[in-house]
């Protein structure tokens, strides 16, 4: 799909590591946004403030 697989096992391994890296960065950004948006609300709801 990315063309890199044509390099064989090394290309496939680079693709796998790249997918994990990209996934981690996306999760960091998305969860960072979710935490800052909802963190205070959760604390208020559970803490009854």
């Amino acid at each position: 799909m990315l063309g890199i697989e044509s390099f064989g096992a090394t290309g496939q391994a680079l693709t796998d590591v790249g997918v994990v890296l990209a996934g981690a960065i996306v999760l960091y950004v998305v969860y960072g946004a979710v935490t800052s948006l909802l963190g205070g609300k959760i604390r208020q709801t559970v803490g009854g403030e």
Binding site: Q12, V17, V20, G23, A24, L27, Y28, G47
Partner: protein, 334 residues
């Protein structure tokens, strides 16, 4: 036909995201990477040892990338020391991986890796139990005897690092090589060994040790994942759901450190590691004697224990929030 999303069965997706959430919460709270429960869980679920170790290392890489992003602004990374660890650990990981594949050729890899995990989880669990039961207050300067003896070897050349300390190049490379072999053999990041080694043996200040640990695990995790992926032993349908759950869990766990005293939960955590050890042992006995009940027991033990301890952390956090209490504990290292 089972429902699928991106080619992954929904049951597997939910299972791994859920387990990732538990692991992330636990280890976000206790400040560890969490890798050393992922590989045994995969072994218990019936994955072969190379896939379990390779996918475990890819998970280590993903979690350490997220941790490194969170640490990057604190200036707590000593790149010179990190580079020495990367060199030593890279060589060690390659040795560990070759050992696993050699054992696989002999047909005993699953057994040896499983037995190693039974021992590792039992030892770490028992040490934590002893620590939790000890009446003595924690003392940061309370060096283990072996660390004191190793630290006495000032083999030149000595390299100066952040915080004013000096470390021996050869001692650092030796420690990194040893932990790298363990990492490549078991699919663990090695942070739970590297942190005490850096602080007690090399005399690295705690803050620099945390930052450097995260930095080097990112690099060695990437290398470990790459080297296993070349053999097709990294299963992204395992790694990505686990990472999705654990990244969220790590935030919950890190948030809980401000609400719950770690000492209140340590005994549960130690019990969970011992349950993990028993689970891997039970799985192997189940396979050896073809007893399905033991296989099911192993799954209940490892996932049930993780669920109970995570539940205890979340419950204590909610209680603490309702009481309006906070504790002054340091932020988790991820």
């Amino acid at each position: 036909m089972a429902m699928e999303l991106f080619g992954i069965a929904m049951v597997q997706l939910v299972l791994f995201v859920g387990f990732g959430l538990l692991i992330g919460t636990l280890f976000g709270f206790f400040g560890m990477g969490g890798s050393f429960l992922v590989t045994p869980a995969l072994l218990v679920l019936g994955y072969d040892s190379t896939t379990a170790v390779g996918s475990g290392l890819a998970f280590v890489f993903g979690t350490s990338v997220i941790a490194a992003l969170r640490h990057r602004d604190h200036g707590q990374v000593d790149y010179k020391l990190g580079l020495m660890f990367i060199v030593g650990m890279t060589a060690g990981i390659e040795v560990g991986k070759e050992a696993v594949f050699y054992l696989k050729e002999l047909g005993v890899a699953d057994l040896v890796v499983s037995v190693s995990y039974v021992g590792l989880l039992a030892v770490v669990g028992l040490l934590m139990f002893r620590d939790a039961r000890s009446d003595e207050p924690d003392d940061a300067n309370d060096e283990p005897a072996i660390a004191e003896r190793l630290g006495a070897f000032q083999i030149p050349p000595m390299i100066s690092i952040k915080g004013g300390a000096e470390v021996s190049l050869w001692l650092t490379l030796g420690i990194a090589l040893g932990i790298g072999v363990l990492s490549g053999f078991l699919g663990v990041g090695g942070g739970f060994l590297l942190m005490p080694a850096m602080m007690y043996v090399l005399g690295v200040p705690a803050a620099v040790a945390v930052g450097t640990d995260v930095f080097q695990i990112t690099a060695s995790g990437a290398f470990g994942a790459f080297t296993y992926a070349q053999s097709g032993a990294v299963d992204l349908s395992i790694v990505l759901p686990l990472l999705t759950g654990s990244a969220m869990g790590a935030r919950i766990g890190a948030g809980a450190t401000a609400l719950v005293d770690e000492d209140d939960i340590t005994e549960y955590f130690a019990a969970m590691l011992l349950a993990g050890s028993a689970a891997v042992g039970s799985k192997n006995l189940g396979n050896a004697y073809d007893v399905e009940l033991l296989n099911q027991l192993s799954i209940v033990l490892i996932f049930g224990a993780a669920l109970v301890v995570t539940g205890a952390i979340v419950w204590a956090s909610i209680q603490s929030m309702q009481d309006g209490e906070t504790v002054s504990s340091p932020a988790a290292a991820d």
